[in-house]
Structures are given as C-alpha cells and as structure tokens.
C-alpha cells in the first residue's frame, strides 16, 4: 500500500511502485485535470507540484511520490482565483486547453520563486511545456499580468 497526499487529501492506493504518478492520479484517484501528453517528460502536460517543485508526473514513480506533498491543477486554488488563473481567463489564453493545466503548474512555481520575471525568465521556466495550439504569446503576457496582480495583492 502506498500513501499519496494529493491536494491535502490522503489516499492509500494499492499499485506498482514503478507506476508513474500520472496514472495513479488519473486512473486510481480519479483527478483528470493532469494530462497525458507524451509519457517521456517532453511536453509538460502532466506537470504537478511535488513538495512545491514542478515535476513531470508521467516519469515520476510512485515510490518517489509516496509520503510527499503533491498538488495538482485541481489544488492550485479553491475557486479558480490564483492570479495565474485570473490572468488566463482575462486574456483568453487557452485554445484547446489540454496543455494548460501543465502550463499553469509550471508558471505557478516560477511566480512563487520569481515574483517579477522577465520575458527571458518566463521563456526559460516555461520551455518544458509544449502548446500545439501556439498560445505561447498569451501565456507569456498572462504570466506578466499575474505577476503584477500578485504584487498588487501583496501591497494591500
């Protein structure tokens, strides 16, 4: 039995310790916001937070995730009110939307570590996430907007 703490909730699951975290989250726990894109840590669609770090859940074994703190897109905020989610909505970022969970989870770590990123910082932090619809220009702009909202919020 493996214990996973996902979005603050404990789950005891009976699974192969070699199973990637992605499939446990999706097929066993039933949270489908985290996406399967490549299975090879190439596209970032499956990005979740493991103890606050952005990891590719498609190549993160359950044995590594056991007992650690995992946050998925469903746990990014309670009411879709993370500054990134607000900026994504205001700027109509998603098209098909499939990669956006992963984009948001990568961007959330960036904004936490670097509250006022430059274009270069954003490009570097987001280079592991592919968007086939080509929403990159809006993602970059929305991260800047979220950064501004976050700083505005901090002042209050």
């Amino acid at each position: 039995m493996i214990t996973l703490t996902v979005n603050g909730q404990k789950h005891d699951i009976d699974a192969d310790p070699n199973m990637p975290l992605l499939w446990a989250i999706r097929d066993i726990i039933g949270l489908t916001g985290t996406k399967f894109g490549c299975g090879a840590a190439q596209c970032g669609a499956c990005t979740v937070h493991l103890n606050g770090e952005a990891v590719r859940s498609c190549v993160t074994k359950l044995s590594r995730a056991a007992g650690q703190k995992i946050v998925t897109i469903e746990g990014l905020s309670l009411n879709n009110d993370h500054p990134l989610q607000k900026a994504w909505n205001e700027m109509n970022v998603p098209q098909c939307g499939y990669c956006q969970s992963g984009q948001l989870m990568s961007a959330a770590v960036l904004l936490r570590e670097n509250p006022n990123p430059t274009d270069q910082d954003i490009d570097d932090a987001m280079s592991g996430n592919i968007c086939r619809c080509g929403t990159y220009q809006r993602i970059r702009a929305a991260i800047h907007k979220a950064a501004a909202m976050q700083m505005e919020g901090a002042k209050i």
């Binding site: 090879a40 998603p94 499939y98 619809c133 080509g134």
Partner: protein, 717 residues
C-alpha cells in the same frame, strides 16, 4: 435586414412534458431543404433535448454547440451568435455539445474552417424566430400589439407599461405559435455580443482541470486498452505471444484486433487492463511477429526524387488553364523554372488519440475527442450493421484536432475492441502511436515556371506532384486533384492572362489526410514563393507587384493595410522583410515577416504582422488567437519538424525527435482584422499558409538566399 423565414411549424418541436421537469420549447432547422421531410418526421416523434435551443419553464436556457470544440472556439462562437438574436445573456446560458445527428444539425464536421461560415445565417434566423415567437406569446398574454414589445436579457418587455415576463413563463404559449413568415435580423451596428472580444466561456474549466476531454471521460466498469499495431502503417500479424503480457498485474485480456484505415486494415494486438499503465506495461511484454508482405518499403528520399522526375517529365492532369502559357514560356527570354518541396507532417495534437466505446446488442455508444460525430455515426452504423439511431456519438472537448480527429480509424477500432471484449473500454494511443502511425499531411512537390516581359508577368505554369488525400489507397487518378489551385488568390486570374495548373498523380501506400489548412498549407508555400521570385525577376517590390495583379477592392485594401501596419515602406537595410497572401476557406490572409541577423550570426524572426479578411465574424479575440496559433504551427512545419520514412517505417517517435516550437522560438504576432460585411469566411485555418512563404521571402531579402525546400533549419541560414 429582413429575412424570409423558412422555418415551418412542423420543424418546431411541440411543448412537451418531461418526466417531472419543466415544459420546454425546442426546435431545429432541417439540414437543408431536401432533407426537410426527414427532419420533420423526427420532430414529430417528440421532444429531443439536443435541439439548438431549449428553454425550460424555469427560464433556464440551454444552447447547443453542434460542432467540435478543439480550441478554435465553437463553444463560444456558436452560443454567441444564438444569444445575440435570441436576446439572452451569455452569463445565463448553458452550453452543451450535440451528439452526432446530421439529420438535425446538418454537417457537423469541424473541418474546412466551416463552423461559422457554414452555420451562421441559419443560426441567426433560428434565434430571431424563437425570439419573435416569445414576443408574440407575451403580447397575446397582455393583449397588446407585439410591436409594443421587445426582448432583452431573456425577458419580453412591454415598452409602454414596463411589464416584463421571463422567457420561461412564455415557453408553453410560444410553443403553440406558428413561426413568423419573416423575421428581422439585426444590422451589424446593433450587435451587442457579435463582433465583441468576449471572454471565452470554456476558459474557467480549462484553468482548473474541470474540462472533460476524451481521455478524461469515465464510464462505470470501464477498462483501459493499448494496442500494438503493425509499425508499417498497414499490414498483418503472423503470430503473437501474450503469455508475459497476461502476467502483468491488472491485465485482463489480450486479443488480435483489426482497424480499418480507409479501405484497408491494419492488424494489432490489444491489451485490456484495469488502468492505462497496466495496459501499456502489458503491451510492452507482448511478442508479435508481423507480416509485411506486399507492403512497399518506402524511403523519403525516393519519394521526392520520384516527384522531381514526374514534374520534369510528365505534363500531368490539367486542373485549370487560361491563355497559352506553354507557348509563351517556350519563347520567353526572361523566365524561371524552379521546384519547391514540402514535407510530410503529423498532426500531433496535445491530446493523443483516444476513444471510449461501449458496444451492446441493441446499441453502440461512443465518447471521445471527435471532429466529425456525424461521420462517425454513419461509419460505425455501416461497419457494425447497427441502425444509425442506435449509434450514439458523444463529443467531449478535444485536446487539439487539426484534421486528425476527423478520421474514422480510431473510433472504429475502439468499437471493435469493445465488441470483442463485451464491455465499455477506453482505447488510448501513446504519443509514439500518434506520431508513428499517421495518417499524415502528404509531402508535395511543385514546379513553377514563369516569364516576365517589360516588368509584367506574361505566363505562369504550376504543377504539383504528391499523394492525393482522396486517392491514397484508391485506383489511379484520371482527374486532377480538385485542390490543385487551393490557396492561390482568385483575383490573379483576372489580370494574369496566361496561366495553368496541373496535377501529376503520384500514388504511394502511405495513409495521408487533411492537416490544418489542407492543400493551402503546401500550395501556398509554392505559389506565393513563386510570386515573390517573379517580383524579383521583374525588379519590383513584392507588395507593389501584388497590388498590380490583385485589382479587386478587398485585395487592394488588404495590401494597403499590410503596408501600413508593418511599416513596409520605412524598413531598414539590415532587416529582411517578406510577404505572402493566400486564400483559404473563403478568407484571405496576408502576412509580413521581419527577420534580422543577430550578433551571434543567427537569423531571428523579429515580428509577424497578419492581416485577415474573413468577412462577417463573431469574436475578434478568437480570430486573433487562431491566427497567432496558426503562425506557431506553420513555424514548426517550416523550420522544426517533418515525418520521414526509412524502409517503410516512420523515423520519428515522440516530442524528442518530432520537435515542437517552444515559447522561446515564437515571434510576436500582431493580428489585424478587416472590417466588412461580406459573407463569413473561415477562421481556424487560413492564418497558416502565408507564413512559410513570407518567412522564406524575408530570409531572401536579408541574405539573398531563396529557400525552396521545407523544413529548413533557421539556425543554419
């Protein structure tokens, strides 16, 4: 504007009681006049939830999106049209996806950028008709003239008295009213929702994980399946050994399966398990021996060599001809004769192919990311001998499509697996399956010949050689590909008197199909690159050159706008500027690309300006997003990836060798939309074709080097 109504009483569904629920008004338009009788018959049989508009007596308004939502915005734009004439607030409505039902909705294929251009007129009329019926119902109730009443925000209001009734309170009475013979549609200037850059209604659920894509759908008792298919794109199985696979924990069943790919079959071995991971592990443990007898072990280099030979030796099948280009070319002094090559491309949508099927004795139900639910319904009905109405096709959100998810192989295979298994199953393609198994956009080669005299084009001659989507597996072609001229601007025909297009058939057993913007994506590169080469030969500015030959008013305005927004006339010496204009699905897009040489010696794309003339439109921000995305997709296809074949096998596997543009590769894209009231053109695809020829033209402007083969490495220019 006044529109004569073609909606008859019988096309409206009667108010009808639903189990414990409210009375509803539902109605629909027949797919086309010819099908009216059929449609009416269905309507008479009772209320159907999936009509375009449904208003419950409690006032709840449900609008249906009859097309797929794969990023292009139908989930936003279809309701935005309906809500405009129906006079309801977007914040008060619910949107549902239609099931596959061409009798009710007409064509549902999300392809050819057709969602809006193919539906908007009837959607406007349908919505205005419903509004008028609700107004009449209120007027009757109050015993006042209908002319004194108007509709707003889901209510009918009596202007003189200020009396107000919610649509829900009027549904029962409205449903008994004969639809008006004529309805008045709004003028463009009166729109409250249409032409406004409204926030997309599907964004909130795409930022918190709630949106249900095909891969996210779950059914009770559903199992997961992964299929090992013949790697040579089609072919059979000699034998397989499932012993090890069956020992993988969670694996339930292993069996042989056949998928229909066009008219041929591809054999595979399917592993069914209680999780995706277990199915994939079981698949890895399979031992399969393939039978490739009769399959052509093709190599990419041979394909392009064959194209070139054909283009040089074969006149091909005539597609279009005016004047005598051959005679003029034979005598001309100043002429060029060049060949362009475009690569095979995978669609590589972010959501790998997947489909849930539940085959039962008396019905088949399907859920998935499906671009053409109406086609799937017909296809499954045919292949499994099940009446159409017993084949229920449910669309989920699509994690990208680009044409691939309008194909019928993966849905057929899922149903075949469910039938054999005897229960609901989700079939998941891996990224490798998605990249390696096609069908692909065909790589096509072109030969362009042209002559210039006194700075004027005297003759143009184009030939294309490559696989035809309609014929990849069929008999040899006896007619030219109807898409040979796709992408080429029609006004050119008025001013270039001697011009011909021909299609040189090249048959090859590789499955190929449409890919975003279809033939315009390859034709556009050849034809517009050639126009730029002709401009150079004539010693003229590329935009001025086009202005001379595109004499219609819309083209002239488009060119003026391109010049204005890009600063074309004030460009500097050390900057490369390139241009291209293509037509695709009744929309014309012109792009200007600016490049410069960086201190490290590499060429950088500094900026892309796109000007789109798509006529009547719904949501300008969705248009901008579609063009921005089209440029990124075109950038990938022009400079980063291609599908190649070695000994009949696809050489690429996953995103580590079928590379994608990343955030740092993408130039800023500035989109401008022409304002006019011409008929609506497509939006999702037309932004793609002009990018590659504009980029290579910019590189020529900067370096003097003309690139005629895609993809090319931008770092090596």
């Amino acid at each position: 504007m006044m529109e004569t109504n073609t909606i008859s009483r019988r096309n409206f569904l009667r108010a009808s009681g639903l189990a414990g629920a409210a009375l509803c008004l539902g109605f629909y338009l027949p797919a086309n006049a010819k099908k009216e009788e059929l449609a009416a018959a269905t309507a008479e049989s009772g209320f159907d939830f999936n009509a375009w508009i449904r208003i419950d007596t409690d006032g709840k308004v449900t609008l249906t999106d009859h097309r797929a939502e794969m990023g292009q915005g139908s989930y936003q734009s279809v309701p935005q049209i309906i809500a405009e004439e129906l006079e309801v607030n977007l914040s008060d409505i619910h949107v549902v996806f239609a099931q596959g039902n061409p009798v009710k909705y007409g064509s549902q294929i999300t392809g050819g950028s057709s969602t809006i251009r193919g539906s908007y007129k009837k959607l406007l009329k349908l919505s205005a008709t419903a509004r008028e019926m609700l107004i009449t119902a209120a007027a009757n109730k109050w015993n006042v003239p209908a002319a004194e009443c108007y509709a707003e925000g889901g209510h009918v209001i009596h202007k003189p008295s200020g009396k107000k009734l919610n649509y829900g309170e009027l549904v029962a009475a409205a449903s008994k009213i004969t639809p008006p013979a004529q309805v008045k549609l709004k003028e463009t200037s009166q729109y409250k929702l249409i032409r406004k850059p409204l926030q997309r209604m599907d964004t909130p659920m795409k930022t918190n994980g709630e949106a249900v894509f095909g891969l996210d759908k779950r059914l009770p008792g559903m199992l997961f399946a992964s299929v090992e298919r013949n790697p040579r794109l089609r072919g059979k199985i000699k034998s397989f050994d499932a012993t090890a696979a069956l020992k993988v924990p969670g694996v339930k069943k292993v069996f042989k399966i056949q998928m229909m790919v066009f008219k041929t079959t591809r054999d595979g071995v399917v592993v069914v398990a209680d999780s995706t991971w277990a199915a994939m592990q079981g698949r890895k443990a399979l031992k399969v021996e393939w039978d490739d007898t009769g399959f052509d072990h093709v190599n990419t280099a041979d394909i392009y060599q064959a194209h070139e030979n054909l283009l040089k030796t074969n006149e091909g099948l005539p597609a279009k001809k005016q004047g005598e280009p051959d005679a003029i070319l034979a005598k001309a002094d100043k002429k060029i004769d060049v060949i362009y090559q475009t690569p095979y491309q995978a669609h590589a949508a972010m959501e790998p192919l997947n489909c849930i099927a539940h085959y039962q004795q008396d019905k088949i139900e399907i859920w998935g990311p499906i671009q053409a639910p109406d086609w799937v319904q017909g296809d499954i009905s045919d292949k499994f001998k099940m009446p159409k109405e017993k084949v229920i096709v449910n669309m989920t959100f699509l994690g990208g499509g680009f044409g691939r998810k309008a194909f019928l192989d993966y849905t057929h295979e899922a149903v075949a697996i469910s039938k054999e298994l005897g229960g609901p199953v989700q079939v998941i393609w891996t990224r490798e399956d998605d990249v390696k198994q096609g069908p692909y956009r065909a790589g096509i080669s072109y030969r362009g010949q042209g002559a210039i005299e006194n700075g004027e084009i005297t003759a143009l001659k184009f030939k294309m050689a490559g696989q035809n989507i309609d014929h990849w597996n069929g008999p040899g072609r006896d007619k030219a590909n109807g898409s040979t001229t796709e992408g080429f601007l029609k006004p050119y025909y008025d001013s270039i008197k001697n011009i011909s297009f021909a299609d040189v058939p090249y048959e090859m057993p590789l499955p190929n199909m449409w890919w975003r913007s279809v033939y315009a994506s390859t034709n556009g590169f050849a034809y517009e690159s050639f126009m730029n080469e002709m401009a150079v030969l004539a010693g003229q500015d590329q935009l001025d050159f086009r202005r001379k030959y595109l004499k219609d008013e819309r083209s002239q305005r488009l060119i003026d706008r391109m010049e204005e927004v890009s600063g074309w006339k004030t460009r500097k010496q050390n900057e490369g500027y390139g241009v291209a204009i293509t037509e695709c699905f009744e929309t014309t897009v012109g792009q200007i690309v600016k490049v410069s040489r960086q201190p490290n010696g590499k060429v950088k794309i500094d900026k892309v300006w796109a000007v789109m003339d798509c006529g009547w439109y719904v949501n300008p921000d969705i248009i901008r997003a579609q063009v921005e995305g089209s440029v990124v997709m075109a950038l990938g296809a022009a400079t980063i990836h291609e599908i190649t074949f070695k000994n009949g096998l696809v050489e690429q596997n996953n995103f580590y060798d079928y590379l994608m543009p990343r955030m740092s590769d993408v130039p800023p894209v500035e989109v401008h939309i022409m304002e006019n009231t011409a008929n609506a053109g497509g939006v999702g695809e037309p932004g793609l074709p002009p990018f590659a020829p504009a980029l290579t033209d910019a590189i020529f402007d900067l370096t003097g080097k003309r690139i005629r083969k895609l993809p090319f490495n931008l770092n090596e220019v």
